[in-house]
Protein backbone atom coordinates (compact mmCIF):
# COMPACT_ATOMS: atom_id res chain seq x y z
CA UNK A 1 0.00 0.00 0.00
CA UNK A 2 2.84 2.31 0.85
CA UNK A 3 4.51 1.51 -2.47
CA UNK A 4 1.33 2.58 -4.31
CA UNK A 5 1.44 5.81 -2.40
CA UNK A 6 5.09 6.39 -3.27
CA UNK A 7 4.51 5.48 -6.88
CA UNK A 8 1.77 8.09 -7.30
CA UNK A 9 3.82 10.63 -5.40
CA UNK A 10 6.86 10.12 -7.61
CA UNK A 11 4.78 10.14 -10.77
CA UNK A 12 3.03 13.40 -9.94
CA UNK A 13 6.24 15.15 -8.96
CA UNK A 14 7.99 14.00 -12.12
CA UNK A 15 5.11 15.21 -14.24
CA UNK A 16 5.04 18.56 -12.49
CA UNK A 17 8.80 18.99 -12.81
CA UNK A 18 8.37 18.91 -16.56
CA UNK A 19 6.11 21.95 -16.31
CA UNK A 20 7.72 24.08 -13.66
CA UNK A 21 5.85 27.27 -14.53
CA UNK A 22 2.69 25.83 -12.96
CA UNK A 23 4.42 25.74 -9.59
CA UNK A 24 5.81 29.21 -10.00
CA UNK A 25 2.45 30.76 -10.86
CA UNK A 26 0.98 29.68 -7.53
CA UNK A 27 4.00 31.00 -5.71
CA UNK A 28 3.92 34.34 -7.46
CA UNK A 29 0.20 34.65 -6.94
CA UNK A 30 0.87 34.36 -3.22
CA UNK A 31 3.62 36.97 -3.36
CA UNK A 32 1.57 39.40 -5.44
CA UNK A 33 -1.53 39.19 -3.26
CA UNK A 34 0.55 39.76 -0.14
CA UNK A 35 2.36 42.68 -1.77
CA UNK A 36 -0.87 44.39 -2.81
CA UNK A 37 -2.09 44.91 0.73
CA UNK A 38 0.49 47.54 1.76
CA UNK A 39 -0.45 49.45 -1.40
CA UNK A 40 -4.09 49.32 -0.41
CA UNK A 41 -3.96 50.02 3.32
CA UNK A 42 -0.89 52.26 3.40
CA UNK A 43 2.62 51.39 4.49
CA UNK A 44 2.60 52.43 8.13
CA UNK A 45 4.75 50.05 10.11
CA UNK A 46 2.27 49.57 12.97
CA UNK A 47 -0.65 48.81 10.68
CA UNK A 48 1.37 46.37 8.62
CA UNK A 49 2.70 44.52 11.63
CA UNK A 50 -0.86 44.24 12.89
CA UNK A 51 -2.22 42.99 9.58
CA UNK A 52 0.75 40.81 8.62
CA UNK A 53 -0.29 37.42 10.04
CA UNK A 54 -3.82 37.66 8.70
CA UNK A 55 -2.75 38.84 5.27
CA UNK A 56 -0.16 36.11 4.86
CA UNK A 57 -2.72 33.49 5.84
CA UNK A 58 -5.46 34.83 3.59
CA UNK A 59 -3.01 34.97 0.70
CA UNK A 60 -1.92 31.40 1.44
CA UNK A 61 -5.56 30.32 1.54
CA UNK A 62 -6.30 31.88 -1.84
CA UNK A 63 -3.13 30.57 -3.44
CA UNK A 64 -3.65 27.00 -2.31
CA UNK A 65 -7.29 27.17 -3.37
CA UNK A 66 -6.37 28.35 -6.86
CA UNK A 67 -3.83 25.56 -7.17
CA UNK A 68 -6.45 22.99 -6.22
CA UNK A 69 -8.14 23.25 -9.59
CA UNK A 70 -5.20 21.49 -11.18
CA UNK A 71 -5.15 18.68 -8.62
CA UNK A 72 -7.20 16.23 -10.69
CA UNK A 73 -7.83 18.21 -13.86
CA UNK A 74 -5.07 16.86 -16.12
CA UNK A 75 -5.58 13.26 -14.99
CA UNK A 76 -9.28 13.69 -15.63
CA UNK A 77 -8.69 15.17 -19.08
CA UNK A 78 -6.45 12.36 -20.36
CA UNK A 79 -8.41 9.52 -18.79
CA UNK A 80 -5.79 8.51 -16.21
CA UNK A 81 -8.22 9.21 -13.43
CA UNK A 82 -10.71 6.67 -14.74
CA UNK A 83 -7.96 4.07 -14.80
CA UNK A 84 -7.09 4.94 -11.21
CA UNK A 85 -10.68 4.35 -10.17
CA UNK A 86 -10.50 0.90 -11.72
CA UNK A 87 -7.28 -0.22 -10.02
CA UNK A 88 -7.54 -2.75 -7.19
CA UNK A 89 -5.55 -0.46 -4.88
CA UNK A 90 -7.67 1.55 -2.46
CA UNK A 91 -8.55 4.82 -4.11
CA UNK A 92 -8.03 6.84 -0.96
CA UNK A 93 -4.34 5.88 -0.89
CA UNK A 94 -3.92 7.00 -4.49
CA UNK A 95 -5.72 10.21 -3.61
CA UNK A 96 -3.51 10.75 -0.60
CA UNK A 97 -0.45 10.33 -2.81
CA UNK A 98 -1.77 12.92 -5.23
CA UNK A 99 -2.57 15.36 -2.43
CA UNK A 100 0.90 14.94 -0.90
CA UNK A 101 2.55 15.58 -4.24
CA UNK A 102 0.31 18.56 -4.76
CA UNK A 103 1.22 19.98 -1.37
CA UNK A 104 4.95 19.43 -1.92
CA UNK A 105 4.66 21.31 -5.20
CA UNK A 106 2.38 24.17 -4.23
CA UNK A 107 2.18 24.31 -0.44
CA UNK A 108 5.80 23.81 0.53
CA UNK A 109 7.26 26.55 -1.72
CA UNK A 110 4.68 28.87 -0.23
CA UNK A 111 5.78 28.00 3.30
CA UNK A 112 9.39 28.58 2.35
CA UNK A 113 8.80 32.00 0.83
CA UNK A 114 6.49 33.17 3.63
CA UNK A 115 9.32 34.56 5.82
CA UNK A 116 10.16 36.99 3.02
CA UNK A 117 6.59 38.23 3.00
CA UNK A 118 6.73 38.40 6.79
CA UNK A 119 9.77 40.65 6.57
CA UNK A 120 7.84 42.96 4.25
CA UNK A 121 5.28 43.27 7.00
CA UNK A 122 7.87 43.97 9.64
CA UNK A 123 7.48 40.72 11.58
CA UNK A 124 10.35 39.83 13.90
CA UNK A 125 12.49 36.71 14.26
CA UNK A 126 10.41 34.47 16.51
CA UNK A 127 7.20 35.57 14.83
CA UNK A 128 8.61 34.52 11.48
CA UNK A 129 9.56 31.17 12.91
CA UNK A 130 6.09 30.63 14.35
CA UNK A 131 4.55 31.67 11.06
CA UNK A 132 6.58 29.09 9.13
CA UNK A 133 5.71 26.40 11.66
CA UNK A 134 2.02 27.26 11.55
CA UNK A 135 2.01 27.30 7.74
CA UNK A 136 3.89 24.01 7.71
CA UNK A 137 1.12 22.37 9.73
CA UNK A 138 -1.75 24.38 8.31
CA UNK A 139 -1.26 24.32 4.54
CA UNK A 140 -1.47 20.50 4.28
CA UNK A 141 -4.89 20.79 5.92
CA UNK A 142 -5.88 23.25 3.21
CA UNK A 143 -4.78 20.86 0.47
CA UNK A 144 -6.52 17.91 2.13
CA UNK A 145 -9.84 19.66 2.74
CA UNK A 146 -9.68 21.38 -0.62
CA UNK A 147 -9.22 18.12 -2.47
CA UNK A 148 -12.82 17.19 -1.62
CA UNK A 149 -14.04 20.32 -3.34
CA UNK A 150 -11.67 19.79 -6.26
CA UNK A 151 -13.02 16.27 -6.76
CA UNK A 152 -16.64 17.41 -6.59
CA UNK A 153 -16.23 20.25 -9.08
CA UNK A 154 -14.24 18.14 -11.53
CA UNK A 155 -14.94 19.11 -15.13
CA UNK A 156 -17.68 21.61 -14.35
CA UNK A 157 -17.95 24.91 -16.17
CA UNK A 158 -16.96 27.69 -13.81
CA UNK A 159 -15.46 25.04 -11.54
CA UNK A 160 -12.86 27.36 -10.08
CA UNK A 161 -15.22 29.94 -8.67
CA UNK A 162 -17.55 27.21 -7.45
CA UNK A 163 -14.63 25.51 -5.75
CA UNK A 164 -13.86 28.67 -3.81
CA UNK A 165 -17.47 28.91 -2.68
CA UNK A 166 -17.41 25.34 -1.40
CA UNK A 167 -13.98 25.27 0.14
CA UNK A 168 -13.27 28.70 1.62
CA UNK A 169 -15.84 28.42 4.44
CA UNK A 170 -14.22 25.14 5.45
CA UNK A 171 -10.83 26.84 5.67
CA UNK A 172 -11.93 29.19 8.44
CA UNK A 173 -10.62 27.21 11.46
CA UNK A 174 -7.16 26.95 9.92
CA UNK A 175 -7.20 30.66 9.14
CA UNK A 176 -8.34 31.61 12.65
CA UNK A 177 -5.79 29.53 14.52
CA UNK A 178 -2.99 29.89 11.98
CA UNK A 179 -2.97 33.65 12.03
CA UNK A 180 -3.85 33.62 15.75
CA UNK A 181 -0.64 31.74 16.48
CA UNK A 182 1.45 34.35 14.70
CA UNK A 183 -0.33 37.24 16.38
CA UNK A 184 0.01 35.75 19.84
CA UNK A 185 3.68 34.92 19.35
CA UNK A 186 4.43 38.64 19.31
CA UNK A 187 3.18 38.89 22.90
CA UNK A 188 4.18 35.65 24.56
CA UNK A 189 5.76 32.66 22.88
CA UNK A 190 4.38 30.28 25.49
CA UNK A 191 0.83 31.05 24.36
CA UNK A 192 1.50 29.63 20.91
CA UNK A 193 1.37 26.01 22.01
CA UNK A 194 -2.43 25.50 22.08
CA UNK A 195 -2.71 27.05 18.63
CA UNK A 196 -0.17 24.63 17.23
CA UNK A 197 -1.85 21.76 19.04
CA UNK A 198 -5.18 22.65 17.43
CA UNK A 199 -3.61 22.97 13.98
CA UNK A 200 -1.97 19.60 14.51
CA UNK A 201 -5.31 18.11 15.50
CA UNK A 202 -6.88 19.49 12.33
CA UNK A 203 -4.07 17.96 10.30
CA UNK A 204 -4.60 14.53 11.83
CA UNK A 205 -8.37 14.71 11.34
CA UNK A 206 -7.96 15.87 7.77
CA UNK A 207 -5.39 13.15 7.05
CA UNK A 208 -7.76 10.53 8.39
CA UNK A 209 -10.99 11.59 6.71
CA UNK A 210 -10.45 13.75 3.69
CA UNK A 211 -8.82 11.09 1.44
CA UNK A 212 -11.90 8.93 2.03
CA UNK A 213 -14.26 11.78 1.26
CA UNK A 214 -12.24 12.76 -1.80
CA UNK A 215 -12.27 9.18 -3.06
CA UNK A 216 -16.05 9.07 -2.65
CA UNK A 217 -16.33 12.44 -4.41
CA UNK A 218 -14.20 11.21 -7.32
CA UNK A 219 -16.42 8.17 -7.75
CA UNK A 220 -19.46 10.43 -7.82
CA UNK A 221 -17.91 12.81 -10.33
CA UNK A 222 -16.33 10.36 -12.73
CA UNK A 223 -18.67 7.40 -12.96
CA UNK B 1 -52.83 52.43 17.78
CA UNK B 2 -50.19 54.98 16.86
CA UNK B 3 -48.38 54.06 20.01
CA UNK B 4 -48.33 50.44 18.92
CA UNK B 5 -47.11 51.31 15.45
CA UNK B 6 -44.32 53.51 16.72
CA UNK B 7 -42.90 50.76 18.98
CA UNK B 8 -41.43 53.31 21.36
CA UNK B 9 -39.59 55.08 18.55
CA UNK B 10 -38.05 51.93 17.15
CA UNK B 11 -40.68 51.44 14.46
CA UNK B 12 -38.10 51.46 11.66
CA UNK B 13 -36.10 48.61 13.12
CA UNK B 14 -38.99 46.46 14.28
CA UNK B 15 -41.19 46.83 11.23
CA UNK B 16 -38.45 46.45 8.67
CA UNK B 17 -37.53 43.10 10.23
CA UNK B 18 -41.09 41.80 10.17
CA UNK B 19 -41.63 43.44 6.78
CA UNK B 20 -38.65 41.68 5.28
CA UNK B 21 -39.86 38.39 6.74
CA UNK B 22 -43.21 38.82 5.05
CA UNK B 23 -41.62 39.92 1.78
CA UNK B 24 -39.28 36.92 1.69
CA UNK B 25 -42.09 34.50 2.49
CA UNK B 26 -44.34 36.02 -0.19
CA UNK B 27 -41.57 35.92 -2.77
CA UNK B 28 -40.78 32.30 -1.99
CA UNK B 29 -44.38 31.17 -2.18
CA UNK B 30 -44.96 33.07 -5.43
CA UNK B 31 -41.81 31.59 -6.96
CA UNK B 32 -42.82 28.08 -5.90
CA UNK B 33 -46.32 28.43 -7.32
CA UNK B 34 -44.95 29.75 -10.58
CA UNK B 35 -42.45 26.91 -10.80
CA UNK B 36 -45.16 24.30 -10.32
CA UNK B 37 -47.46 25.99 -12.85
CA UNK B 38 -44.63 26.21 -15.40
CA UNK B 39 -43.72 22.56 -15.15
CA UNK B 40 -47.35 21.43 -15.29
CA UNK B 41 -47.99 23.59 -18.35
CA UNK B 42 -44.81 22.32 -19.98
CA UNK B 43 -45.74 18.70 -19.41
CA UNK B 44 -49.24 19.37 -20.70
CA UNK B 45 -47.82 20.89 -23.87
CA UNK B 46 -45.52 17.91 -24.37
CA UNK B 47 -48.43 15.54 -23.96
CA UNK B 48 -50.62 17.39 -26.45
CA UNK B 49 -47.76 17.44 -28.93
CA UNK B 50 -47.31 13.70 -28.60
CA UNK B 51 -51.02 13.07 -29.02
CA UNK B 52 -51.13 15.29 -32.07
CA UNK B 53 -48.26 13.35 -33.57
CA UNK B 54 -49.95 10.03 -32.91
CA UNK B 55 -53.26 11.12 -34.47
CA UNK B 56 -51.38 12.57 -37.40
CA UNK B 57 -49.65 9.29 -38.08
CA UNK B 58 -52.81 7.28 -37.55
Amino acid sequence: MFSTFLCILRRDITLAMRRRTDILTTLFFFVIVASLFPLGVGSEKEVLRFLGPGVVWVAALLASMLALERLFASDFADGTLEQMLLTPQPLSVLVLGKICAHWLLTGLPLVLIAPLIGLQYGLEGTQLLVMVMALLVGTPVLSLVGSIGAALTLGLRGGGILLSLLVLPLYIPVLVYGSGAVTVSAIDLADVQPFMALLGAFLILALAFSPLATAAALRISVE
Amino acid sequence: MMEFLSQGGYAFYVWSCYGLGIVLITVEITALRRRQRTIVAQLGRLKRMREAEVSHEG
Binding site: L166, S221 | G21, L43
Partner: protein, 252 residues
Protein backbone atom coordinates in the same frame (compact mmCIF):
# COMPACT_ATOMS: atom_id res chain seq x y z
CA UNK C 1 -53.38 -3.84 2.28
CA UNK C 2 -50.03 -4.32 3.86
CA UNK C 3 -48.59 -1.01 4.89
CA UNK C 4 -44.89 -0.37 4.56
CA UNK C 5 -43.14 2.79 5.53
CA UNK C 6 -41.00 2.73 2.42
CA UNK C 7 -44.25 2.98 0.48
CA UNK C 8 -43.94 6.76 0.60
CA UNK C 9 -40.32 6.77 -0.50
CA UNK C 10 -41.50 6.38 -4.05
CA UNK C 11 -41.79 9.80 -5.69
CA UNK C 12 -45.10 8.83 -7.28
CA UNK C 13 -46.86 8.17 -3.98
CA UNK C 14 -45.11 10.98 -2.15
CA UNK C 15 -46.23 13.47 -4.78
CA UNK C 16 -49.86 12.90 -3.87
CA UNK C 17 -49.21 12.75 -0.14
CA UNK C 18 -47.24 16.00 -0.16
CA UNK C 19 -49.96 17.67 -2.18
CA UNK C 20 -52.57 16.73 0.41
CA UNK C 21 -50.39 17.84 3.34
CA UNK C 22 -49.31 21.26 2.05
CA UNK C 23 -52.57 23.11 2.90
CA UNK C 24 -52.50 21.69 6.43
CA UNK C 25 -48.96 22.82 7.03
CA UNK C 26 -49.74 26.26 5.67
CA UNK C 27 -52.80 26.48 7.92
CA UNK C 28 -50.78 25.44 10.98
CA UNK C 29 -48.06 27.94 10.11
CA UNK C 30 -50.61 30.73 9.70
CA UNK C 31 -52.48 30.01 12.93
CA UNK C 32 -49.39 29.65 15.11
CA UNK C 33 -47.83 32.63 13.37
CA UNK C 34 -50.79 34.86 14.17
CA UNK C 35 -50.89 33.63 17.77
CA UNK C 36 -47.15 34.18 18.14
CA UNK C 37 -47.27 37.71 16.76
CA UNK C 38 -50.28 38.63 18.88
CA UNK C 39 -48.58 37.27 21.96
CA UNK C 40 -45.25 38.83 21.08
CA UNK C 41 -46.65 42.31 20.54
CA UNK C 42 -49.47 42.53 23.08
CA UNK C 43 -48.68 40.18 25.93
CA UNK C 44 -45.05 41.13 26.47
CA UNK C 45 -43.54 44.01 28.41
CA UNK C 46 -42.45 47.09 26.46
CA UNK C 47 -38.99 46.91 27.92
CA UNK C 48 -36.66 44.25 29.16
CA UNK C 49 -35.31 45.14 32.54
CA UNK C 50 -31.86 44.69 33.91
CA UNK C 51 -28.90 46.99 34.11
CA UNK C 52 -28.89 47.47 30.36
CA UNK C 53 -32.57 47.76 29.44
CA UNK C 54 -33.65 46.65 26.01
CA UNK C 55 -36.40 48.88 24.67
CA UNK C 56 -39.16 47.94 22.21
CA UNK C 57 -36.66 46.91 19.59
CA UNK C 58 -36.15 43.67 21.47
CA UNK C 59 -39.36 42.50 19.75
CA UNK C 60 -37.18 41.68 16.77
CA UNK C 61 -36.20 38.71 18.91
CA UNK C 62 -39.24 36.68 17.86
CA UNK C 63 -38.47 36.68 14.16
CA UNK C 64 -34.71 36.70 14.72
CA UNK C 65 -34.46 33.73 17.05
CA UNK C 66 -37.10 31.80 15.12
CA UNK C 67 -35.33 32.19 11.81
CA UNK C 68 -31.90 31.54 13.32
CA UNK C 69 -33.09 28.30 14.93
CA UNK C 70 -34.78 27.22 11.73
CA UNK C 71 -31.70 28.02 9.65
CA UNK C 72 -29.61 25.68 11.78
CA UNK C 73 -32.27 23.01 12.07
CA UNK C 74 -32.90 22.97 8.33
CA UNK C 75 -29.19 22.47 7.67
CA UNK C 76 -29.35 19.41 9.92
CA UNK C 77 -32.40 18.20 8.02
CA UNK C 78 -30.64 18.81 4.73
CA UNK C 79 -27.57 16.86 5.83
CA UNK C 80 -29.73 14.07 7.24
CA UNK C 81 -31.62 13.63 3.95
CA UNK C 82 -28.30 13.76 2.11
CA UNK C 83 -26.82 11.05 4.31
CA UNK C 84 -30.00 9.01 3.95
CA UNK C 85 -29.73 9.33 0.19
CA UNK C 86 -26.08 8.30 0.07
CA UNK C 87 -26.66 5.31 2.34
CA UNK C 88 -29.92 3.93 0.97
CA UNK C 89 -29.66 5.40 -2.51
CA UNK C 90 -33.26 6.59 -2.55
CA UNK C 91 -34.02 9.31 -5.06
CA UNK C 92 -36.64 10.96 -2.91
CA UNK C 93 -34.19 11.69 -0.08
CA UNK C 94 -31.98 13.69 -2.42
CA UNK C 95 -35.00 15.54 -3.72
CA UNK C 96 -36.01 16.39 -0.16
CA UNK C 97 -32.50 17.63 0.63
CA UNK C 98 -32.49 19.81 -2.46
CA UNK C 99 -35.92 21.22 -1.70
CA UNK C 100 -35.07 22.10 1.90
CA UNK C 101 -31.97 24.12 0.96
CA UNK C 102 -33.54 27.33 -0.46
CA UNK C 103 -35.91 27.65 2.50
CA UNK C 104 -32.96 27.18 4.84
CA UNK C 105 -31.00 29.85 3.00
CA UNK C 106 -34.02 32.15 3.24
CA UNK C 107 -34.20 31.77 7.01
CA UNK C 108 -30.45 32.30 7.30
CA UNK C 109 -30.73 35.53 5.33
CA UNK C 110 -33.64 36.63 7.49
CA UNK C 111 -31.71 35.83 10.67
CA UNK C 112 -28.71 37.84 9.43
CA UNK C 113 -30.84 40.80 8.42
CA UNK C 114 -32.79 40.89 11.67
CA UNK C 115 -29.58 40.40 13.64
CA UNK C 116 -28.12 43.41 11.94
CA UNK C 117 -31.28 45.44 12.61
CA UNK C 118 -31.15 44.44 16.23
CA UNK C 119 -27.49 45.28 16.44
CA UNK C 120 -28.01 48.86 15.29
CA UNK C 121 -30.21 50.07 18.20
CA UNK C 122 -28.64 47.85 20.87
CA UNK C 123 -24.93 47.85 19.98
CA UNK C 124 -24.96 51.00 17.87
CA UNK C 125 -23.60 49.25 14.82
CA UNK C 126 -25.10 47.42 11.86
CA UNK C 127 -22.51 44.72 11.81
CA UNK C 128 -20.35 43.43 14.59
CA UNK C 129 -18.12 40.38 14.24
CA UNK C 130 -20.07 38.81 17.04
CA UNK C 131 -19.51 35.03 17.07
CA UNK C 132 -23.18 34.21 16.64
CA UNK C 133 -23.67 36.63 13.77
CA UNK C 134 -20.48 35.43 12.08
CA UNK C 135 -21.48 31.79 12.47
CA UNK C 136 -24.79 32.58 10.84
CA UNK C 137 -22.95 34.21 7.94
CA UNK C 138 -20.81 31.11 7.48
CA UNK C 139 -23.95 28.97 7.56
CA UNK C 140 -25.33 31.15 4.79
CA UNK C 141 -22.18 30.49 2.74
CA UNK C 142 -22.61 26.75 3.29
CA UNK C 143 -26.19 26.91 2.00
CA UNK C 144 -25.11 28.95 -1.00
CA UNK C 145 -22.28 26.51 -1.75
CA UNK C 146 -24.70 23.57 -1.62
CA UNK C 147 -27.23 25.25 -3.91
CA UNK C 148 -24.53 26.46 -6.31
CA UNK C 149 -22.93 23.04 -6.59
CA UNK C 150 -26.26 21.37 -7.22
CA UNK C 151 -27.28 23.80 -9.90
CA UNK C 152 -23.87 23.72 -11.61
CA UNK C 153 -24.11 20.00 -12.40
CA UNK C 154 -26.44 19.11 -15.25
CA UNK C 155 -26.63 15.38 -14.62
CA UNK C 156 -29.27 15.02 -11.90
CA UNK C 157 -27.78 11.91 -10.34
CA UNK C 158 -24.30 13.36 -10.05
CA UNK C 159 -25.70 16.68 -8.81
CA UNK C 160 -27.67 14.94 -6.08
CA UNK C 161 -24.80 12.83 -4.85
CA UNK C 162 -22.12 15.50 -5.12
CA UNK C 163 -24.13 18.07 -3.22
CA UNK C 164 -25.12 15.46 -0.64
CA UNK C 165 -21.45 14.79 -0.01
CA UNK C 166 -20.63 18.48 0.39
CA UNK C 167 -23.57 18.85 2.78
CA UNK C 168 -22.19 16.09 4.98
CA UNK C 169 -18.66 17.45 4.82
CA UNK C 170 -20.08 20.81 5.79
CA UNK C 171 -21.96 19.31 8.71
CA UNK C 172 -18.81 17.62 9.99
CA UNK C 173 -16.89 20.89 9.73
CA UNK C 174 -19.60 23.11 11.20
CA UNK C 175 -18.81 22.39 14.87
CA UNK C 176 -15.12 23.07 14.28
CA UNK C 177 -15.83 26.24 12.32
CA UNK C 178 -18.27 27.57 14.92
CA UNK C 179 -15.89 26.69 17.69
CA UNK C 180 -13.02 28.49 16.02
CA UNK C 181 -15.18 31.58 15.55
CA UNK C 182 -16.42 31.45 19.12
CA UNK C 183 -13.00 31.08 20.58
CA UNK C 184 -10.27 32.50 18.38
CA UNK C 185 -7.79 32.32 21.24
CA UNK C 186 -7.63 28.85 22.82
CA UNK C 187 -5.81 30.29 25.83
CA UNK C 188 -8.90 32.05 27.13
CA UNK C 189 -11.89 30.12 25.84
CA UNK C 190 -13.46 29.46 29.21
CA UNK C 191 -13.64 33.15 30.03
CA UNK C 192 -15.19 34.09 26.72
CA UNK C 193 -17.82 31.44 26.61
CA UNK C 194 -21.20 33.09 26.45
CA UNK C 195 -24.28 31.27 27.50
CA UNK C 196 -27.91 32.17 27.69
CA UNK C 197 -30.35 29.96 29.49
CA UNK C 198 -33.98 29.46 28.59
CA UNK C 199 -35.01 29.79 32.21
CA UNK C 200 -33.99 33.43 32.45
CA UNK C 201 -36.33 34.48 29.65
CA UNK C 202 -39.73 35.94 30.51
CA UNK C 203 -42.41 33.29 30.03
CA UNK C 204 -44.52 35.32 27.61
CA UNK C 205 -41.54 36.15 25.45
CA UNK C 206 -40.42 32.55 25.42
CA UNK C 207 -43.89 31.44 24.41
CA UNK C 208 -44.05 33.89 21.50
CA UNK C 209 -40.55 32.89 20.43
CA UNK C 210 -41.31 29.20 20.45
CA UNK C 211 -44.66 29.70 18.74
CA UNK C 212 -43.12 31.68 15.90
CA UNK C 213 -40.37 29.10 15.54
CA UNK C 214 -43.02 26.41 15.28
CA UNK C 215 -44.83 28.49 12.68
CA UNK C 216 -41.62 28.82 10.66
CA UNK C 217 -41.09 25.10 10.95
CA UNK C 218 -44.52 24.34 9.55
CA UNK C 219 -43.91 26.89 6.83
CA UNK C 220 -40.64 25.13 5.97
CA UNK C 221 -42.54 21.83 5.67
CA UNK C 222 -45.08 23.42 3.35
CA UNK C 223 -42.58 25.15 1.07
CA UNK C 224 -40.21 22.23 0.82
CA UNK C 225 -43.13 19.96 -0.05
CA UNK C 226 -44.18 22.43 -2.74
CA UNK C 227 -40.67 22.47 -4.08
CA UNK C 228 -40.27 18.71 -3.97
CA UNK C 229 -43.46 18.32 -5.98
CA UNK C 230 -42.06 20.52 -8.73
CA UNK C 231 -38.76 18.65 -8.65
CA UNK C 232 -40.55 15.29 -8.89
CA UNK C 233 -42.50 16.44 -11.93
CA UNK C 234 -39.37 17.82 -13.58
CA UNK C 235 -37.44 14.63 -13.00
CA UNK C 236 -40.18 12.14 -13.79
CA UNK C 237 -41.55 13.90 -16.85
CA UNK C 238 -42.82 11.43 -19.43
CA UNK C 239 -43.60 8.57 -17.07
CA UNK C 240 -47.07 7.07 -17.05
CA UNK C 241 -47.95 8.11 -13.52
CA UNK C 242 -47.08 11.74 -14.24
CA UNK C 243 -49.36 11.75 -17.25
CA UNK C 244 -52.18 10.22 -15.22
CA UNK C 245 -51.58 12.69 -12.42
CA UNK C 246 -51.73 15.59 -14.82
CA UNK C 247 -55.00 14.34 -16.25
CA UNK C 248 -56.41 14.16 -12.73
CA UNK C 249 -55.26 17.69 -11.99
CA UNK C 250 -56.64 19.00 -15.25
CA UNK C 251 -60.08 17.59 -14.46
CA UNK C 252 -60.20 19.34 -11.11
Amino acid sequence: MKFHWLHFSSPATFYGLAGRMIPWFFALALVTGVVALYWGFFQTPDQLGGSNPQKEYYRIIFVHVGSAWMSMWLYLVLAAWSAFGLVFNTRLSYMMAVSVAPTGALFTALALFTGSFWGKPSWGTWWDWDPRLTSELILFFLYIGYIALHSAIDDARRADRASALIAIVGLVCVPIIFWSINCPDPNQCAALHQRSSMGSIDGNILFAMLALTFSFWMYAFATSFMRVRSIILEREAGTTWVNEQLELEAKR
